[in-house]
């Protein structure tokens, strides 16, 4: 009797284990898909932000390009230094 009870218990445990594993597998799969959707969304956002950052960097480089600065300087009456117009401040006389 005790042996049949034992086998019944083992049978029950096995069934429960299989059920539990199956449910876990389903739950993990659902979570995985959810994560995949989130990841997809985040990657798209990262891609668009990276693209925007590159465009802004490009724009910044364009704005500080010598020909732009020269044009801007001219509007304020500034121009390149000529011979005899330079004054070196202390610590700035080192060549670049």
């Amino acid at each position: 009797m005790s042996a049949s009870k034992g086998s019944l218990f083992m049978y029950f445990c096995t069934i429960s284990g299989v059920l539990l594993l199956s449910l876990s597998s389903v739950w993990l799969n659902i979570e995985r898909m959810d994560l995949a959707y989130d990841l997809n969304k985040l990657e798209k956002e990262l891609g668009s932000r990276t693209a925007l950052a590159s465009k802004l960097e490009l724009e910044r480089n364009n704005l500080i390009s010598p020909y732009r600065l020269k044009r801007l300087a001219a509007t304020y009456g500034l121009g390149p230094v000529g011979p005899g117009q330079m004054r070196l401040m202390t610590g700035q006389d080192q060549g670049k």
Binding site: A36, S54, E59, P80, P83, M86
Partner: protein, 660 residues
């Protein structure tokens, strides 16, 4: 069972009945077993036999292979400013079978993308499943298209090459095609390094077709192209381009190039070409504008070759500075052909031949030197071979072997006619003079670093180079042909060139000229080499007039940028008029350290200090300015003792603002 026995005991002997129950049970058992076996059979058939095929089909539905193309590497200048980069932009394509209303779609596409409606209608009428409408469109256009939600019209991402400095160093950087492949310049040279690589990975598709990344397979690799860092400096590049453009347009030249090199390292700080090329819209420019002329175009250099004849002749001790030559009053017939000078001279010493750029005098020096030694020097200077910058399609120039030279050839090659060189070769050769007689290879790329090279073999001795540099200083600082390149307070050395261009017919010379000037600043210990070449300037074609002012401008901007301009107030020296460029055979008064104190008044302070420095005297400076107004001791008096002169009250120079 008991019942059955009783019945048989009570009445007639019972007829034995067939036990159907067992049979039925067996039948049912068999039925279920058959079903069970067929199910298992079917399952086995599906799993084991059809399994691989079904798995493939299922994967086809739910999995897809994705490709990702990496971004192309960037090009930076020496200070880290971006010269070329790739940004993501959208491209439009249509799938004509999915388009609902072709006429309306064509109208909207034509309006938003600013393309001819006929072209769009032709695209929509195509029977292909994929047709490009417009590639690499702007963000605003992409947004407007997305808002329209047109069936059958799709946007896809591509990388677009952008050059934020527009035309700056356009020919050097080159450009890429619409597919992002480098076609010219650095873009072509470093195509393999900068091209983005492709990653392949598997994605899962859901019912709506969205792609989901389930693992990082294929995505862990670095697919971005590597960057390239050039030696160019955008500030110097802009200065060179501005001055070059002014020189070419002012003198109606066809084209021009300018080069600035840092002598200490051989790094090219600026390499400008005019007309400019905007690589952002390279397809709109002519092929002739796209040429990397400094490396590709060969020209006859003219008088800028003369310092090399002088250096070779000095090295071979054929001449010394004071040796005089008869310049035949400007016209000399050699082997039935006439060599002319721009201005007539008679007897000139070697230094004055260079100062006034006499072709006849230089030809005689070349003839005295001989073909083989001159050819040997030219080869050592880098003529007749590529510069080593590894620029696509670079020209090696044209330098015939000396056995093919006649006497007249030797004479003309001495003053730079009958030889073909590139701008880079000229700069490389002048680097030998700037670098005390030892070649210093030009550098255009900092990263990737060039492989280490064996130490270069000395071409000229230091003494020879010093002598040639002193002659070249006379060209700029005295009454030579390059005085428009003079910068107050900074010694300059240089050489002008005005070369005739070969006639289009291939025989003899035509009307066109190539004007050029190469300047070294400071002229005694060169730190920067500046070269400007203008093709076919008119009406004036002299290098000393067309190019020297441009070299001066570029040098001033370069020196000021690197804090190498002298301090103090000096009025800008008025530019000599064109007529003053007529070289005279009289020697200009110059201060030299003779037996008595020379007259230093009117000299730039730097030059005066040089003269006194040779005597070991450090004078006391009084007042402000860059020009000497008075001096003590007075001119003609005996030199004071160096020790005493160094003390206050010894040698005194009073400064003033003004011109020399």
């Amino acid at each position: 069972m008991t019942k059955r026995v009783q019945r048989s005991r009570g009445g007639a002997p019972a007829r034995p009945k067939t036990d159907l129950g067992k049979f039925k049970l067996l039948l049912v058992g068999l039925f279920f077993a058959a079903i069970w076996v067929s199910l298992w059979g079917r399952a086995a058939y599906v799993q084991l036999y059809l399994g691989p095929e079904l798995k493939k089909g299922a994967e086809k539905q739910s999995l897809a292979t994705g490709f990702e193309l990496g971004e192309r590497g960037r090009i930076y200048d020496r200070n880290g400013s971006i010269l070329a980069t790739s940004v993501e932009s959208k491209s439009v394509y249509v799938s004509p079978i999915k388009v609902d209303n072709a006429a309306q779609t064509a109208q909207i596409l034509a309006q938003i993308l600013d393309v001819p409606r006929k072209n769009v209608e032709r695209d929509l009428a195509s029977k292909k499943g994929f047709v490009w409408v417009k590639r690499q469109i702007g963000d605003r256009e992409a947004q407007a298209l997305e808002a329209e939600k047109l069936p059958g019209v799709f946007l896809t991402s591509e990388y677009r090459r952008m050059f934020p400095n527009h035309h700056s160093a356009g020919q050097v950087l080159g450009f890429v095609g619409v597919d992002g492949v480098g076609l010219e310049g650095m873009e072509k040279r470093f195509e393999e390094r900068m091209a983005g690589r492709q990653a392949k990975y598997v994605v899962q598709r859901d019912a709506t077709g969205r792609r989901l990344y389930l693992d990082d397979q294929g995505r862990e690799m670095d697919i971005r192209g590597a960057d390239v860092k050039l030696t160019l400096d955008t500030v110097i590049q802009d200065a060179a381009e501005q001055s070059l453009a002014e020189a070419v347009t002012r003198y109606n030249g066809r084209s021009g190039m300018a080069l600035v090199v840092k002598v200490g390292t051989g790094e090219i700080l600026a390499l400008a070409h005019f007309p400019f090329l905007n690589p952002n819209a390279a397809s709109l420019s002519k092929p002739s504008v796209r040429r990397f002329r400094a490396a590709l175009d060969m020209f006859e250099p003219g008088s800028i070759m003369k310092p090399f004849v002088f250096a070779a002749a000095l090295e071979q001790k054929v001449i010394d500075q004071g040796k005089i030559f008869d310049c035949e009053n400007g016209k000399w017939v050699l082997r039935g052909k006439t060599i002319r000078d721009t201005h007539p001279y008679r007897w000139l010493s070697a230094n004055r031949i260079l100062r006034y750029s006499s072709n006849i005098g230089t030809a005689k020096i070349g003839l005295a030197l001989g073909a083989q030694p001159y050819y040997s020097a030219l080869r050592k200077l880098g003529f007749g071979e590529r510069s080593g910058l590894d620029i696509p399609s670079e020209s090696a120039g044209l330098l015939r072997p000396p056995k093919e030279w006649g006497e007249f050839d030797l004479a003309t090659i001495s003053f730079g006619q009958g030889i073909g060189v590139t701008g880079l070769q000229v700069a490389q050769a002048y680097m030998v003079l700037a670098n005390k007689g030892v070649p210093k290879p030009l550098k255009l790329v900092l990263d990737p670093a060039a492989p280490p090279q064996a130490p270069a073999e000395r071409v000229f001795s230091e003494q020879t180079v010093d002598t040639v540099l002193s002659m070249m200083r006379e060209v700029v600082e005295e009454d030579g042909t390059g005085k428009l390149a003079r910068i107050p307070g900074v010694l300059g050395a240089g050489k002008t060139g005005t070369a005739q261009k070969a006639a289009a017919t291939g025989k003899g010379y035509g009307e066109g000229n190539v004007a050029s000037f190469v300047g070294l600043y400071p002229g005694d210990k060169p730190e920067y080499l500046v070269m400007v070449i203008v093709d076919e300037p008119s009406p004036v074609a002299f290098g000393g007039i067309v190019c020297a002012p441009a070299v001066r401008d570029i040098a001033i901007k370069t020196l000021s940028y690197y804090n190498r301009l002298p301090e103090g107030k000096t009025a800008t020296q008025p530019e000599p008029s064109e007529s003053s460029m007529q070289a005279k055979a009289t020697r200009a008064p110059s201060a030299t350290a003779g037996a008595n104190v020379p007259d230093l008044t009117g000299l730039p302070v730097r030059r005066a200090l040089e003269v006194l420095g040779k005597r070991g005297i450090v004078p006391t400076l009084k007042g402000s300015g860059m020009v000497i107004s008075h001096q003590k001791p007075l001119p003609g008096e005996a030199w004071p003792e160096a020790k005493g002169a160094n003390k206050d009250g010894g040698f005194v120079l009073w400064l003033q603002e003004g011109t020399k």
